[in-house]
Symmetry: C2
């Protein structure tokens, strides 16, 4: 094939976005001369899998190498240059300057199209003692190897930052029988989620003997007499190994040096076709800022799925601009599992909506992940946020043991389809007893949302601190005796007896109904409202707000 | 509460639609006088769970009784009349005539609103020998008890009809160590699905020693000398127990006798608020015809999910008409599991689109249900159908071992959101290695669909029976040796060697590329197309069309 007039594509970064761009480019143009420049020794590795190799769930290191430089060359006819970095971009001359990481030799490489996919760098704050070799971050296969090696002789591990990677690392260190401390600056784990949606996961970590320290940040490290983490509260945590997982910053120095437009937090600015401010230079992946699907505002979502799709879209626009559909934006759909619990979100959280001043309403519902009578049903908690003007879904969060990913994916698809709570109420999901319920928790959440919108229920996210309020616990009396509601003063009137016992309540004072899941409390609220009471209901029940494992009924005897 | 002026609601049928209507009605109106009439002894039971009690997966019969007449009375203040049937409707007088099933006494019961939720009756064709007491259908708890009792002494079981219930019953009889024969009139199991999507399930049944007889129907039964099923082909199947699961008909006799409008197949006609041709009489559940969500045409979808939502919507319209959103229609989302395999669909199948003359295109893709390197990844097969004019998703089918329900639910939500293949290509699904892939199979299907739309690949559903065609098997040579493609004559040119071996192919003759999954065959097609070949690709690969368990790679040694 004659390659004299073919397009020269240079890709800086050979992992998610870079590898996707290369593969797509080759499929679109056999004649293109594609060069992939990668600073590290590996290309196209599975960076989301790194924690699982450290903890031994993934046994074969090779399994994480999706492609090697050799297989990429063979399959995609790429020129792959590993251990090579791009040190500058000559935009007028349309060439990049390469430097060998090992030998320091430099050379110029011309391009017609350039993709910047440099990714992000883990944050490593400039704290006293931060240079200690026992402090690690996790980004590359080499980081992984170093942590795995250090873990072999470590007993006490401190993980700083309780986001997705922090949780995965905490779990894996428990698998390695380490004594694990998890430190988080905020008053909850999993900062992107609302706090009520993180309780089950926090409980799961503690059940597996992870010491969870919230509301406290790292201040410094000291190595004498023993290596110790000093927290802002004054608390100390001795450690043999520290993993910092407090976030990432875009690796956009090269782009900035080349005069490409950067966003306020240093991300490379791109248009909907992943073009930077120089139309021949594209960027994709963790280093770019893109649009938020829900709000249309600029955001950054350093996740593998968007990176892959952005790299592919960049290649589409380089080779088939007229057929390329603009990038619609990221939804921030994400999930994490630790032990038997999963938690995740899509779209906007309540705290983010509140901070942005965006109007919203929310409900939280409990249900089992499949038909309750079918063996193995596990509880799920789902929070649904919607726009009170349009009814459109703004975001959802789900936590539980099984089926969490499915409900998140349904909600992500609903957000993309701009579905309303009325639509979700009618959604026909796949039902057979091993898979779901005739009314799935997604339908239930939508029913509840419509009820809230229509004034049939007044959902509360907390019990008001008001002595006037009569809190009615609507659970059966034996259940209340076995699992009392200790956090607030309440009177127990079981749903079944409520119609007969209305006289025990004061019609002049507001009532809040509470139960384990929020379901009988809703039923009770309907009875009370129709009998003239001013009533609201704790949405999500005791499970969401006080005890993530409180049972909904007592075990059947025998 | 004064009930003198309250609405009198009579509900005929106390299972899915009827029970949902009653519960919703009570929540909307404490004062309503609600009477539930049920011919059988049970209300609100889990009819989808019946097979699982027969097979012993569900141990407690009580677990299937979601509510009892007593709990419904206590919780919802209903008047529940079991073992009572409605024998006529006096529409001008707005009353129904009741008859006690056991004592034959009759009485009139007035109504302001009437809901008909009579459900459907299993088909029992008028064949010679059909009255044999060893022939069962499954609809009620009593049917279930009878089959369970008969199964105790049966060894050979014949299940007639390989739809959802037939498959569930076949599986459960295997659990009971019966010798099971499954007979299906069509040339495939699971008639609502396209044939290529049923191969894995068929294979799973045979692996569990179910004798699957396709393309053959039941002709008659004889009981001398031994009870025997006679098939249309002349084949015979001896049996100790027969389950007929060949479909249902709406139990709409009462509605028809009352002069309510029925559809062409006897379903009760309703509007989008579930009102029959008499606006004070509503109908919901398996007995009604509703709109198909995709086409807007009239259809009937006798499934639990729609029945529940229709019953609820009918109550909404009775008590809060101004707040009721019309029923959007059913998507026919359904799933079944037998042993380790699940299969299902949402929206329209290819055969249904073809029969209706509706334009469509389709692709079939393979992938793992989560990241391949993470332990436990299981293969999935997904077929996506879309409208070539609009790009909108018309339907999807999925089969595999894990994650089938999730992809069906994403596709159902996509259909509700009227998403296009371009939208699905950008969908942000929840990704972490235990749950999915950075490019989920839903994204992959959409990529492939967009490629087909854009002419980058020409997907084929079968290899053309044309001696001119050069079939190129693009798998690695050792894989081809271990798992040869015996069904068609092919030449093996592994993808990795293709660029070097183009000279072995005749540029004047069409090429079809084939591989295990369809992925390397697509890559190869891109190379060939750009080198001037007329090339198409078997979509879904050998897995979809020839061998549902063919491996994509040889096991790694050691």
């Amino acid at each position: 094939m004659n390659r004299m007039n073919s397009i020269r594509l240079v890709i800086v970064g050979g992992v998610a976005a870079g590898a996707s761009c290369a593969a797509r480019a080759r499929r679109l143009d056999e004649s293109a001369r594609i060069t992939m420049i990668e600073r590290g020794p590996d290309v196209s590795f599975a960076n989301c899998g790194l924690p699982y190799f450290i903890g031994g769930e993934v046994k074969q290191r090779d399994a994480l190498a999706v492609q090697t430089p050799q297989t990429l060359k063979e399959m995609l006819a790429l020129d792959v240059r590993i251990r090579t970095e791009v040190i500058s971009i000559d935009r007028p001359g349309k060439r990049v300057r390469l430097r060998g990481v090992t030998d320091g030799t430099t050379e110029w490489l011309p391009y017609d199209r350039l993709l910047l996919a440099p990714g992000a760098v883990p944050l490593r704050p400039d704290l006293p003692g931060i240079e200690d070799p026992r402090i690690f971050t996790l980004r590359s296969l080499q980081d992984m190897d170093r942590i795995k090696a250090a873990a072999a002789s470590a007993q006490r591990v401190v993980v700083i930052g309780a986001g997705f990677i922090g949780l995965e690392m905490a779990e894996q260190f428990v698998h390695l029988a380490k004594q694990v401390t998890l430190v988080e600056r905020l008053d909850q784990i999993l900062p992107p989620l609302d706090r009520s949606m993180t309780r089950l996961m926090e409980d799961e970590l503690r059940r597996h003997h992870v010491e969870v320290i919230l509301d406290d940040g790292i201040a410094s490290f000291s190595s004498e007499p023993a290596f110790t983490c000093h927290l802002k509260s004054g608390r100390t945590a001795p450690a043999d190994l520290v993993v910092l997982s407090i976030g990432v910053r875009p690796d956009s120095g090269l782009a900035g040096d080349a005069g490409l437009e950067l966003g306020p937090r240093g991300h490379i600015h791109v248009n909907a076709f992943m073009q930077t401010s120089d139309p021949d230079i594209y960027a994709a992946g963790d280093a770019v800022e893109i649009n938020d699907f829900v709000s249309g505002e600029t955001t950054a979502v350093p996740l593998g799925g968007p990176a892959n799709r952005q790299g592919r879209l960049a290649a589409d626009h380089m080779f088939r601009p007229e057929h390329t559909r603009p990038y619609l934006g990221a939804m921030g759909t994400a999930i994490v599992r630790a032990f038997d619990v999963a938690a995740g979100l899509t779209g906007w959280s309540e705290k983010r909506l509140r901070a942005a001043g965006h109007p919203y309403r929310s409900v939280t519902v409990n249900d089992n992940h499949h038909a309750s009578y079918y063996p193995g049903a596990k509880p799920l908690l789902l929070k649904l946020l919607w726009d009170p003007e349009t009814g459109r879904v703004l975001g959802a969060q789900v936590t539980g043991m099984l089926g969490v990913d499915k409900r998140l994916d349904v909600m992500a698809t609903a957000i993309m389809g701009r579905l309303t709570i009325d639509d979700l109420a009618q959604l026909d999901l796949a039902y057979a007893p091993p898979f779901g319920s005739a009314k799935d928790i997604v339908n239930l959440a939508a029913f509840t949302a419509c009820n809230a919108r229509d004034g049939l229920v007044t959902p509360l996210d907390a019990i008001p601190d008001n002595p006037e309020v009569q809190v009615v616990d609507t659970r059966p009396a034996p259940l209340v005796q076995a699992h009392p509601l200790t956090q607030v003063r309440s009177v127990n009137i079981p749903l079944m007896a409520l119609r007969q016992r209305l006289g025990e309540l004061d019609r002049t004072r507001p009532v809040v109904t509470v139960c384990a899941l929020g379901k009988t409390a809703y039923f009770a609220a309907r009875i009370l409202a129709q009998n003239g009471f001013q009533v609201s209901t704790l949405t999500g029940g005791i499970r969401a707000h006080f005890d993530p494992r409180t049972p909904a009924k007592l075990p059947t005897p025998g």
